[in-house]
């Protein structure tokens, strides 16, 4: 059945949801909302709704997997059956297993695993509703959950996906743009260290488009890092970012 291909970018340069090429979707972050977990964070990014939680450091089970000089970092990215348009079987799919791995590899450079030998640190990312860019949103929330748990980290980790829609580089593709566009590039960075810890590319980019999308992802990542800071401030410093002076010798 022939269907006119949806115009993803209008003649006015606006995308289907009204955004400009470099606009992020609305993002909301909350830290420390799960009672049992050692650390947790909830993110709403566009229509994505994702909960990340951390347990650890804790004992390693099964015992034979224990590492003598560092923590074992475990990560599971899982999508709830009701999180997508067609109900998804709850058993982990190959896609979820791959994403679990890349998320772990994106977070691990930031976690000082050497400070916790013979332990496990478990990161659980549950996607309650998915709408494009969920792995970057998951990483952004997971990094907050790790900070909430008080695990020593060299830096925060923050992710953002950029890509190509009808030959235009755009920031933060939603589900429709990801499915019907020409390319998606999830990127995660450690903002202070200036290092990339996640990079995946699909699509066809010219050298210029590749650079533009890549640099845009990093720029947006730094913007979102500011939101991570605010979320941690809300949780730990009563919502006001300040510095105070105290008398030397006071408690």
């Amino acid at each position: 059945m022939g269907e006119a291909k949806k115009q993803l970018i209008g003649d006015d340069g606006k995308r289907l949801d009204g955004r400009k090429w470099d606009d992020l979707r609305p993002i909301g972050l909350q830290v420390g909302i799960m009672k049992n977990a050692d650390g947790s964070a909830y993110i709403e990014w566009g229509k994505n709704k994702i909960m990340a939680a951390v347990y650890g450091p804790k004992e390693v089970h099964p015992k034979h997997q224990v590492l003598p000089d560092r923590a074992l970092l475990r990560c599971r990215y899982h999508m709830a059956p009701f999180s997508v348009d067609e109900r998804k079987n709850p058993a982990p799919s190959r896609r979820e297993i791959e994403i679990s791995k890349v998320i772990r590899e994106a977070l691990e450079p930031a976690v000082i695993v050497e400070d916790y030998p013979r332990t496990a640190i478990e990161v659980w990312v549950e996607v309650l509703q998915s709408d494009g860019g969920s792995r970057c949103a998951g990483i952004t929330a997971a990094s907050l959950a790790l900070a909430d748990a008080g695990i020593n980290m060299r830096d925060m980790v923050v992710g953002c996906s950029c890509g190509l829609v009808e030959d235009t580089v755009v920031a933060d593709l939603d589900d429709t743009e990801d499915k019907e566009g020409n390319g998606d590039m999830p990127v995660a960075i450690m903002p202070n260290l200036g290092q990339v810890t996640l990079l995946q590319v699909d699509g066809i980019y010219t050298r210029e488009q590749f650079q533009k999308a890549f640099e845009l992802a990093i720029e947006k990542g730094k913007q979102i890092y500011g939101m991570q800071r605010q979320a941690l401030t809300n949780r730990f410093f009563g919502g006001e970012a300040t510095s105070s002076h105290v008398e030397e010798g006071a408690e």
Binding site: K35, N36, A37, Y55, R76, F82, R87, D131
Partner: protein, 270 residues
């Protein structure tokens, strides 16, 4: 592995618990027949046909409904399908693990399913599109997000609230094929089953046990009632005995509390 076996209640706490129970009180200040604060939020997952988040004290469950079409079972060619699933997420408790559902999670899903199915909450005959060929399948998937006791009731309330607020596309049959129209109709919900769980600690029965109480209980019983106060499902848990008198005591409490809870659930899902 049973989660309860891993959580050890401090002997001091257990002693305080027993002392208070003898005076008709519980360790968190509740009366024996008092349910923790219950909150119900619906429509949080827009991509789902219906959804609900329930908190019962610190226990938190999210249920999501997804509608699909499928083939009916051969012995019920004119009935739609209802599938209830539950997962206790690894993030929900330090004692929960990733992997295929444990016997706890499976029992949870099946008991909740039984309460919904036996009460005929969803009229499955209204979900038949083409008898013996095509029916509507209603999936209800539950994620336990945080464990603090009484997963049975929290999950049941989430499933009921999600179903009561679920919408589906209206199907029409054209040329012997079922097609979805653009018209949205409510999922055919007829009644509201309410599950009430009691735990026995020492000599006393308490309603809606939290983690500490579950770790101290030696017997649990869940009873589900429908709008008429009829009992439509029940499950006794833990490797222990229960006297007939206690069973009837539980039934009476479930009918009484079921009424109050039903009012709260229907109010929250109007």
């Amino acid at each position: 592995m049973s989660m309860k076996k891993n959580y050890v209640v401090e002997t001091i706490r257990k002693a305080q618990m027993i002392q208070l129970l003898a005076k008709g009180k519980r360790i968190d200040g509740r009366a024996l027949d008092q349910v923790r604060p219950l909150t119900i939020e619906t429509g949080l997952i827009q991509k789902a046909n219906g959804s609900a988040r329930v908190t019962l004290g610190n226990t938190q469950v999210i249920a999501g409904v997804k509608i699909a079409t499928g083939t009916p079972f051969p012995d019920t060619p004119d009935k739609g399908l209802l599938v209830v699933n539950a997962e206790i997420l690894p993030m929900a408790s330090p004692y929960a693990e990733a992997g295929p559902p444990s016997e706890e999670a499976i029992e949870l899903a099946r008991v909740v399913d039984r309460g919904v199915r036996e009460s005929e909450m969803v009229d499955l005959t209204k979900l038949c599109l083409i008898p013996a060929k095509s029916v509507v399948t209603v999936f209800v998937d539950c994620n336990v997000m945080n464990v603090d006791g009484n997963l049975f009731d929290a999950t049941s309330y989430a499933v009921v609230a999600a179903l009561r607020t679920s919408k589906m596309k209206k199907y029409v049959v054209k040329d012997e094929k079922a097609e979805a129209t653009e018209e949205w109709i409510p999922v055919p919900v007829e009644r509201t089953p309410v599950s009430v769980t009691l735990a026995r600690i020492g000599e006393r029965m308490v309603v809606d046990p939290n983690t500490e109480e579950e770790a101290s209980m030696d017997m649990r019983i869940t009873i589900t009632t429908d709008d008429e106060g009829h009992i439509c499902a029940s499950q006794k848990g833990e490797a222990s005995t229960i006297t007939p008198a206690q069973v009837l005591e539980a039934a009476d409490m479930s009918i009484r509390l079921g009424k109050q809870l039903r009012d709260q659930i229907t109010e929250a899902t109007k």
